[in-house]
């Protein structure tokens, strides 16, 4: 008891500061979590909350339906592969861009190029999709224009399973690289210029400085963002794919989210959608725990 009092006396101020956050989280995040039970019931979208709570549990029916889906493994593979490709390209790209922008000494050039680089972040996905058609369209698309000029046959890139994922990844890098670099630039701003000066005097090369000063200095951001990215692996970019795909590329493009969207669209399958959502959450949790463990193993601060 005195122990509790001692802790409270010493740290009470900080608990008090945290209180609003805790209250917020409990009300707006934890209370609605009772909705998770929808995954284990047969709920239609016009049942009242009372009916949802009192309706009987039906076990894992919706999970089993999903696992038994003809395309289950296809969907898993597409979701993970698209996500992994995207991570491989769009995770390092902002770090690289931030490093390059950081080496610019002209303040105006720095600000302007940085501001321009995140323009695409403000385009909603419909606009981006529209631009993708302009670039890759068969008739009059910019790429096909070049293909024809060099004597080739126009290709339908968006309908071609060999090209579709490349277009997805490229679009994602284009749209996220500038915005993603902001956090890294902020972290670089916190680094001590004296360290660089000392390194310069010691004759360290640019590459050595990046390796031994800049990267370690921003590693806390890199690591936590990487952990988050791993936890996000099952979100392969729903809206982007929905706007760009078509039946000809389903085999490489149909992901869990687009499948559930189509399945639920006409039939209002709320419980089914919840079950798939919960399944994704559990996988995400496992991935996050693994990534966190790995971060600790490398000696970094992870999530906790």
């Amino acid at each position: 008891m005195t122990e509790v009092l001692r802790i409270l006396r010493k740290h009470g101020f900080y608990y008090l500061l945290f209180l609003p956050v805790a209250v917020y989280l409990i009300i707006f995040k934890y209370v609605p979590m009772i909705g998770i039970m929808i995954a284990f019931k047969d709920v239609t979208p016009f049942m009242s909350m009372g009916e949802i709570v009192t309706s009987s549990f039906i076990g894992f029916k919706h999970f089993v339906n999903f696992f038994n889906s003809f395309f289950f493994w296809d969907l898993m593979e597409n979701t993970l592969m698209i996500s992994i490709y995207k991570t491989l390209w769009s995770f390092p790209a902002p770090i690289l861009l931030a490093l390059l922008i950081n080496e610019v000494h002209n303040t105006y050039f720095k600000r302007i190029s940085q501001t321009i680089s995140y323009l695409p972040h403000f385009f909603s996905m419909v606009i981006v999709a529209g631009l993708v058609y302009v670039v890759f369209g068969v008739q009059g698309g910019l790429v096909n224009h070049l293909v024809v000029l060099t004597g080739g046959e126009p290709q339908h890139y968006l309908g071609d399973p060999r090209w579709f994922r490349t277009i997805l990844v490229g679009t994602t890098v284009w749209q996220t690289v500038g915005w993603g670099s902001i956090l890294y630039l902020a972290a670089m701003a916190g680094l001590n210029p004296e360290t660089y000066e000392a390194a310069n005097i010691d004759g360290a090369s640019k590459i050595q400085q990046v390796r031994h000063i800049t990267l370690p200095g921003i590693s806390h951001v890199i690591v936590i963002l990487f952990i988050f990215r791993i936890g996000d692996l099952l979100d392969a970019g729903f809206e982007q794919i929905l706007l760009l795909y078509s039946p000809s590329v389903y085999e490489v493009a149909d992901i869990i989210d687009t499948y559930v969207y189509r399945a639920g669209l006409l039939n209002l399958k709320y419980s089914f959608a919840s079950a798939v959502g919960l399944y994704k959450s559990i996988l995400a949790l496992l991935l996050l725990l693994a990534a966190n463990k790995f971060a600790h193993f490398l000696g970094h601060q992870g999530i906790w």
Binding site: H11, V21, P32, G35, V104, L119, I182, H220, L285
Partner: protein, 297 residues
Amino acid sequence: MRIKATPMERLFYLGNYVFLIVVSLLFLIPFISVLSTSFISTAEWARRGNFVLIPEAPTLEAYQFLFGGSKGTVFNAYKITFFRTIVGTVLCLTFTGLGAYVLARRNLPGRTFMTLLVFIPMVFSGGLIPFYLVVDRLRLTNTVWIMITPFLVNPWWLLIMRNFLMTIPVELEEAALMDGANPLTVLLRVYLPLSMPALTTIGLFYAVWHWNGWFYAAVFNSNRDLYPIQVILRSILYLGDASYRGDLGIMFEPEMMPPAQTLKAAMIIVTTVPILLVYPFIQRYFVKGLLIGGVKG
């Protein structure tokens, strides 16, 4: 003082500039195309199609349509957006900053538990209906607070903020405490100034999130006077977009004349330009290492 660059370094800087210019063009050209499209007439668009770089006969037709006449819709939506962005960002930053500050204290008993409390909602959520019922029970629906109060903390950004704060040396706090400062003073006068780069960055993230946000404002509200500008944008953008309507949608939509691309383009410009202007202003908070000021002493 900078030491004179070697030829190799000069080459690198030159290459760097060239590369950044090329990349910038890739980002800029689509934006210019949208800008140009917003300045052409419907007739010119019908003739020239969806990719226009230089208007032949520039006109303000689309903007006049958006802002003209007696309709206050766009202005009203701007008002809502500005309100939610400014107030929302200030509140979000306060909550997130406090939470991150507490979680960054390495010696705080119960810190892991508190981190878990933040972490779990990152993975699990109860879906839309229960969330709506909570929000409705608190009488937030059909008020402007529906866009602010339920979204005070983004757990991801809180944890990133915490990691930033953990890079601030503990010695600074110890020294201040020895000087007789109380915890509140330490927070306001040591941590707050030192975390300006992180605060402004996370603040920018919140501001842009609020600026771009439309879903909850649209789906939790019946009062169209509370629609922010993004809802108006999307109403115009998504009208006539088949992939969002599904098979039933295209069955019978006699009024589904998709608006001319010029109108969509003007709407995009109207909704993006104000928020684009914010970043250059806050950029100066992290061009120079503010952290250094503290340690030099």
